[in-house]
Symmetry: C3
C-alpha cells in the first residue's frame, strides 16, 4: 500500500521571505502527518522553464504517490487554472502554465483536474478565504494536505480537463547523417551545461557511425568523453551526468562560464 | 487534542555554516519526535525588524501550539533574557529584543516566561553547558524539544515576566481627510514593496470617500489597483498580497528597484 | 534503544538544482520513515576542507546512531572509494577524500567499510543502476536509507578497510614560551574568523603565564577577550564561540572583511 504523506516543494519564493513558511504551515494544518521535503525555493523568479527542467531531475526518485508541488506562478489570480495532474506514479500540483511539460513527456497521465472545490481551500472563520496572489498557501497547500491523507479521490477536487498547457520541449535535430544540433537546457551550480541530447540518441548515432563524436560549442571543439568529472584529462570534456543528458563540463571550474553557455544556446555533436 | 511536535525555525544564521545543523540536532536529542520546519535562515545578520515582520507572515498558518523559534540575537550572552512567550495560539521562543513585536500585536499573551531553569538547558557529562554565544543551540533548542513534547507547563521553565521588549510598530498617519502616509515595511524576493497600510484602513477610506486612491512613492504616481500580479495592466501597480498589506508591485520586475524603495521609505495614499 | 531514522545532509550541491531533491527521494524510497535534516548545501563547490570543518560543528549534537551524509565529492566516479565509517557514536557516509578528517580526530573509529555490495545501491527494473557522476543519489542515499532502518550490520555493505584518507589538521605551533601561531580555519556568515586555537590550549597558556594574551592578525593587535559578541567594548575583539575555538570578531560587522582574514591565514596569540 502506498504511503501518501510525502509532499515535495519546488518554488521561486526565495529563501528569505515568509512564503515558504506559510505554505508549510497551511499543509500541516490540514494533515499533521505530512512529510514536507524542500527541493528548492531558488528557481529564478517566474522562470517556468527552469522549474520544469528541475522537476524532471528529482520527481521520479520519490515513492509512488508522492505529491509534487511546483509553484512558479506569474499568472496567479488570473484566468489560468490550478491543477492536480495524476500520473501513473505521482500527484502533481501546479498552476496550468507549462511547468509540468518535461515530466508529462515521460509519465502517463491518468487525470487532469481543475482545483475548483472550494471546500478544500483555506478557510477562515468558516468561510473560504483565498488570497488572489497566494494560491500556493490558500489552494495548493491545503489540497496537498488533503491529498497526502490518501482518503479522497482526485475527482473530489474539481472537474476533469482534457488538456493542460505544455510548452514544446526542444529536441535535438539531425542535420545530415553525422550531426546532431542540440541546445543547452540548464546550467547547474557547478557550471555544467546540460543539453537536450539523450544518452539513447548519442549511443545510437555512435554505434551506427562506429566513431566517437566531438562537441562543438561557442566555436570550440571538445573531444573527450569522460566517465566522470574527476576522471577527465582535458580542461573541457563532456559526459552523461545525473540527468542522463549530455553535459559539457570543465575540470573544477564552470564550463558555462568558460564557453559562454546558457539555456537556449546551440550545441553541435559531430561524428566522424 | 493539539499535536505539539512542530517547531519552526527562523534565524539569521545563513545557509552555509554548521549553526542550523547544530540547532536541529540539539532539538532532536531532547525530542526524537519533533518535526522541524525551516522557514528561513537568510534574515540579514542582526536585522530584528526583518525577522519580526517575516514571523508575522507565517506564524498564524501553523497548527495550535506549534513552537515558533526566532533567533536573530545580536545581544546573545548579555543581560537580555531568553523568552518563552505563550500566546492564545502558539509558543514563541526568542531573545527579548523586540523580534516578537508584530505577532504580539495580533495575539493575546497568556504568559511571558524568562528561561532560567538550567535543568532544561544543554548539559554535557551531567553538567549544564551553555555557550554564551550560542543560546540557540544550548538554551532555545533543548527548551523547544521539551515544549514540543507537550508534557511540561510553561512555568516550569522559569519565572514570569510582566513585559517583554517590543518596538513601536510604525502605523500609517492620516494627514488631513484624504491622505494616509504609510511606509515600506519589507521588500520581498520579487521586489514587491510591502507597506504598513492595512486592507481595513484602505477599504474604510475608500468607502467613505467614494473614490479610488492613487499611491505616491518616490515622486511617482501609481493609479492601478490590480487584483493580482499577473492581472495588472500598468508597469507599476498596487494590490493586497499574501501579507494583507498594501503592496507596490511591477510587472515581472522589481518595483523596489524601479522606485528606489526600501524598508522605512514613505509612501502616500491619496484619495480624490 | 537508539532511534536510527535521522539522516543529516551536508553537500556542495547548492540550493537551486534538482540534486538535493533527488537524494531525498532516493532515501525515502528505501526507508519511508527516514527523517532527513538539511544542514547545508552551500559548501563552496569541491571544498573538502570547508565541509570537514562544518561537519565538526554539528555532528556531535545529534542523537546516537544518526547517519551523517557528507557529499563534497570532486572525485566521484574515479577510483576513490565510497565509505561508511562507524564511530562510537555515529554513521558517517562520505567519499574517501578527507572530508571526515576533523570528526575522526574526536571520535573513536569502530569500522571503516567500503561500500561495494551493489545489492544496496539504486536499481532500476531489477538491475543495479549507478550513475558514475551521482553516487550521492545512487549509492550513498540508498545506503543511508538502509542504515536508518537499523536492521543491517555495517559489514553487510562491503569489506572493511584499515584506513581512510585523512588530511593533516593544522595545529597551532608554540614559538618560544609565550607565542602560539595558529591559523584561520573558517569564516562564518557573520564574518567571525574561527581559528584552530582551542580553549584548552588558550586556558593552559593563560594559567601558566598568569597574564592575558593579545591576538595579532594582519598586523593589528586585538586585546579584548569578550564573553559574547554583544558584550564587547572594542570594535575588534576575540572570544570562544559555538565551535569552542578562538574566534576573531567585530562589533556588528565582519571581522574577516575588516582584517582581510580567510582560511589559512596566520594568527598569533601573544602572552605578556
Amino acid at each position: 500500500m502506498p504511503r501518501y504523506g510525502y509532499i515535495t516543494l519546488l518554488t521561486d519564493f526565495g529563501a528569505r521571505d515568509a512564503y515558504v513558511g506559510a505554505v508549510k504551515g497551511a499543509i500541516l494544518s490540514v494533515n499533521p502527518e505530512a512529510d514536507i521535503m524542500d527541493v528548492s525555493h531558488e528557481i529564478p523568479p517566474h522562470d517556468i522553464r527552469e522549474a520544469a527542467f528541475t522537476l524532471l531531475g528529482y520527481s521520479r526518485f520519490y515513492p509512488f504517490r508522492t505529491t509534487h508541488m511546483v509553484i512558479v506562478d506569474p499568472g496567479v489570480g488570473t484566468a489560468r487554472k490550478d491543477l492536480l495532474v495524476v500520473t501513473e506514479n505521482y500527484y502533481y500540483l501546479a498552476p496550468d502554465n507549462g511547468v509540468l511539460s518535461f515530466v508529462l513527456e515521460r509519465e502517463r497521465i491518468e487525470a487532469i483536474v481543475s482545483l475548483e472545490e472550494t471546500h478544500f481551500f483555506r478557510s477562515e472563520e468558516g468561510r473560504t478565504s483565498v488570497c488572489p496572489t497566494f494560491h500556493a498557501r490558500d489552494v495548493f497547500a491545503p489540497v496537498a494536505g488533503w491529498l497526502s491523507k490518501g482518503s479522497k479521490s482526485p475527482d473530489d477536487y474539481g472537474p476533469r480537463l482534457d488538456n493542460c498547457v505544455r510548452f514544446e520541449i526542444p529536441k535535438p535535430r539531425a542535420l545530415g547523417d553525422k550531426l546532431l544540433k542540440g541546445q543547452v537546457l540548464h546550467v547547474d551550480r557547478f557550471g555544467n551545461a546540460i543539453t537536450n541530447v539523450t544518452r539513447a540518441q548519442f549511443d545510437e548515432m555512435t554505434a551506427r557511425l562506429k566513431t566517437s563524436p566531438k562537441i562543438v560549442a561557442s566555436g570550440k571543439e571538445i573531444t573527450e568523453l569522460a566517465p566522470a568529472y574527476g576522471a577527465a584529462k582535458s580542461p573541457l570534456f563532456f559526459l552523461f551526468g545525473g540527468h542522463d543528458f549530455l553535459e559539457i563540463a570543465a575540470r573544477e571550474q564552470s564550463a558555462a562560464a568558460a564557453l559562454g553557455l546558457a539555456p537556449g544556446k546551440d550545441v553541435g555533436v559531430v561524428w566522424g
